[in-house]
Each structure stands twice: as C-alpha cells, then as structure tokens.
C-alpha cells in the first residue's frame, strides 16, 4: 500500500541548527587532509572547485542544465522531514551553483545579481557545512529529474572541496581513520576479530551442536567474505548465517583482518579516501589469494 507523505510547507532555516561535530586533528592527519581549516581556506576551496569541475562532467553539467522545475523538491527525505527549503535537492545544489556561477561562468562574473551568483564567504561555507551534511547521497532525486541530475554528485563535490580546505565532520573522518588502523569502521582490532570468530564457533557448538568454522586470514580460500563489521560484533546472527551458508554449500571461505568492512565512508568524504578504503578489499583478496570476493553492506 502506498502511504503518501504529506509535503510540508517551506520553513526557512528549520534545520539550520542541526550540524555535525567538526573533525578532529588526529583523524584528519590520518586521512591525508589538513588538520584544521586552512588560513587561506577560500583560495584552497576555489582551487579544488576548479579541479573538480574539470574532473567530473557530472558536476559541471548538473550545475549548468538544471531548469529549476522543482520536480525533485518534494522527493528528498530531508526536506520532507524538516521542511527546510535548503534541503530541497535543487536548493542544495544551488548552494554550490551560486559559487560556481560567481567564479566560473561569464554571466555570473558580469552580472552576478541576476544570475544569483554569490561570493564564497564565511556564511556560504557555514551553509555548505550544514546542508551538504544533511544529504545522505541516496540519489532519490535523480530518479525524478528529467535530466537525471544526481544531487549526490553535487554533495560529494562540495564535501571534496570542503575537505581540501580542512573542513569535514568528526563522524565521517573518525570512521575512515579507523579503517586505516583497524581495517573496519567499528575499530575492531585483528586480535578482537579473531577472538569474536572463535567465540562464535564455540557458541554455535554449545547452542546448536554444530561444528562450523569461522576462518580468518586463511590464505588460499576460495572466497573472501567482506561483511559489515557490525556482523561480527552486534548482528552476530548474520555472521552465523554466512558461516552456515558457506558450510552447507561446501565453499572454503575466509574473512580478513585487513579488510573486514563492506561499508565505505570515503564516499561521504572525498575521492582519495573512497578509493583507498575500497582498495583494501582488493589488497586483502590479492594477499589471501582468493578467487572470489563476496561483499555486502
């Protein structure tokens, strides 16, 4: 049954105050970002923005061709939930678009007012930090846009630009930094992972009388399983499910203490970290000499 969600009237500034905690120095250094906001943040952001515009056709094209029809406006969960107009995908993209127009388009440079172009200043940066972190990059808006404009691309571009100037959130940077230390988002260290697996083996034997292994770092297994790390820690029934499935199918498998995380928080930060986190899956697979990767999140 379809339950229609009522479309709220716009409430300007309704979610202005819902802001993420800023990133910490120790995490930023681990993920190759400036430890704090750079003194020349504005120049750094504009430099990164020029780079992003030349590297991603999606960003440049989406900023150029939006006709502001408003088809996406009532499709965003964050707008439906808060009523803050800046959470409409089109308005969220406008936060980036107005700066793009000011510095990178002829019309915006010549006649800024008519083109809604805007200087990059402290107020704009604060808006970016607030509203670009109120997007979950779910891409629902792109399904309804007649040109397929994907606001997730815009959000990712804006976060990449902010990150280059040392502006990011604690949650995201902390999780990514943890992956480079422990191999997963939750920060489960290799000994703890092995111990949890041994515990699950014993538990399965005690409760169900089944003798099923939870292999860890087994070189030469057929399958590398990359689960969400929470499966080894909180949702252990899921982990037990994997083991039973592999056991029943007769497939040799292993998890890796180098990469035991299917979720990639680099997606919420920048390209370099997105790639680095993903690369761990391939690296683990190479070193364990597996033939297949099963990867879920």
């Amino acid at each position: 049954m379809r339950v229609p969600v009522p479309i709220p009237g716009i409430k300007i500034g309704a979610s202005r105050g819902q802001r993420c905690h800023p990133a910490k120095e120790k995490d930023m250094l681990k993920i190759d970002l400036p430890k704090e906001r750079l003194p020349d943040w504005k120049e750094a952001m504009l430099k990164k923005m020029a780079e992003v515009l030349d590297k991603y056709r999606s960003v440049r094209l989406f900023l150029d061709i939006c006709v502001k029809c408003g088809a996406c406006a009532d499709k965003c969960q964050f707008f439906l939930g808060t009523g803050d107009p800046k959470n409409m995908p089109v308005a969220r993209a406008d936060l980036l678009r107005k700066v793009y127009k000011r510095y990178f388009t002829l019309g915006g440079k010549i006649w800024g007012r008519a083109n809604e172009a805007e200087e990059l200043n402290e107020t704009v940066l604060q808006e970016w930090y607030t509203y670009f972190y109120q997007c979950s990059e779910c891409r629902r808006c792109s399904v309804f846009c007649p040109y397929g404009i994907d606001t997730a691309e815009i959000t990712m571009a804006a976060r990449e630009i902010m990150a280059a100037a040392g502006v990011a959130t604690k949650y995201v940077t902390e999780v990514v930094a943890k992956v480079y230390d422990a191999g997963n988002n939750l920060g489960i260290w290799p000994p703890a992972w092995k111990d949890n697996c041994a515990f699950l083996e014993e538990d399965l034997k005690d409760t169900e009388g089944l003798d099923i292994k939870f292999p860890v770092d087994t070189v030469g297994a057929e399958v590398l399983l990359v689960p969400p790390s929470a499966d080894n820690f909180v949702n252990t029934n899921t982990m037990i499910g994997y083991a039973k499935m592999f056991h029943a199918a007769g497939i040799s498998w292993t998890t890796s203490t180098y990469c035991n995380e299917g979720g990639n928080f680099g997606l919420f930060l920048n390209y370099a970290n997105l790639k680095k986190v993903n690369n761990r899956i391939l690296e683990a697979a190479r070193q364990l000499k597996v033939r297949k990767i099963y990867w879920g999140e």
């Binding site: 716009i10 408003g70 088809a71 406006a73 019309g107 083109n115 040109y147 397929g148 680095k276």
Partner: protein, 264 residues
Amino acid sequence: MSMKLLFFYLPYFSLGIFFLGILYRFWRWAKTPVPLRIVVPPAPRSRLGVFWRLVGDILFFPNLFKGDKLLWAGGFSLHVFLWLVILRHLRYFLYPVPGWVAAIQTLGLYAGYLIPLPLIFLLARRLVIDRVLYISILGDYFALVLLLAVAGSGVLMKVFFRTYIVDVKALVLGLVHFQPFIPDAHWLFSLHFLLVMALLIYFPLGKLMHSGGLILSPTRNQRANFARRFVNPWDFPVSYNALNLSSPEKYAQALAASDDGEKS
C-alpha cells in the same frame, strides 16, 4: 539603416551566437571526463538500449511523469507545441515548401494558439507553489516571459495584425542567400523578429541548454554493464601515510608471521 541592422546583420549575429554557443557548451561538457559509473537504474545494458532511453527521455520526459503529473502535462505540451510551431515556420525558409511542412500548417497554427497556456501555467506555478517560488531566479522567469512574448506577438500577428507574408518569405530567403531584403513590416512583426533573435542569443547562454545537456548526462547515457572494467582517466595510486597503523606491507608481515606460527 536601423532596419538593415535588425533584418540583416542581427540575424547572422544571433545565429552565430546560437550555433557557436551550443558547440562551445557541448565541447566544454564533452571534454570533461566521467570518472565513475553513476548510471541511474533501471538502466539499459547495451548502447542501443542507451540510445532508446535517451530518445524516450527527450520525447516523453518519463522521470517527470513519475514525479509530478501536472508539471509533466505543462512541460510536455509546451515542448510539443514548440516543435510544431518551429516546424510550421519552416515554410518561410524553404522554397519550394515540402509537402509535409504544408501538411502540418493547421496543426502548427493551433499549437501556436495554445502555446501561451502551458507557459502561463508554468509561470503561475513558479509564483504559487512555495517550493518553486523559493528556487526560482530571474533567469527562470526571463525564459518563460521571453517565450510568452514571442508566442504572444506571433498570435497577435496571425489574428489581428496580419503581415504581408510574401515580404516575410522574401526577407528570410534573402537572409539564406545573403541578399538583404528589408520588408516594410508592421512594428509587431519587427518586435516578433527581434524577440526571436534575443531567444537565439539567450539559448546557449542560459538554462535552455538543458535540451542538449541531457544527451551528455552521465546518469542517463551510461550503460549498466557492471561486469566490465570502468577506467577512470585521471585515476591516481593509493598512498599510505606513516600514521596509518594498518598497511599492505604490515598485513603481509602479519600473514607471514601467523603462517610460521602454524608450522612450528
């Protein structure tokens, strides 16, 4: 002299801006790489599928239909009417007039009468719905008002202030053959002509380029062939810094150590 400016030099200038502008915009988008596969599902697997998807997008706006039926009705009818009107005007450009252009004259005429309706609807929508009012900028109103003015002057000319059509044809064919012909036209025709020239100039500068951008939109023109390797043209290697406690080398060492442990 001013009439020669309007009816002879301006058309070439606006057509130049129109075509060169469109080429520039396409070139700018096309030369920007697409680093990741970001196709929006449900997506076709083959190039032919992509072709048909884009044809469907251009002709019928299925995404808009999914999202907002009323807006779709307004947008769709506007575009259909626009095409009919443009095709109808081909009779001024072509001599002799092809049979199919002659055949759609009546249809194009009615499309011309009706075209203000979706334009007024879209304009009213911008003013009435609070969400759309919030996002609308000057450019959005400008495009609608300009089209409305072009359509309005066209309709007025057809209904009340009839133009001497032979002069119009002589003007346009004069332009085609680089031989100036300055018609002794009603001011309404001059206005209509001027507005169309303005539209041609504005087209590549503003949001009207959405028409071409769709073809290059990576979410619409990519294939869902995930089994194939997708190469990012500007990719760079992964680097680990000294603060990262886990790295490929350390993992290799750990694996070797546990291997030795099992053997002993």
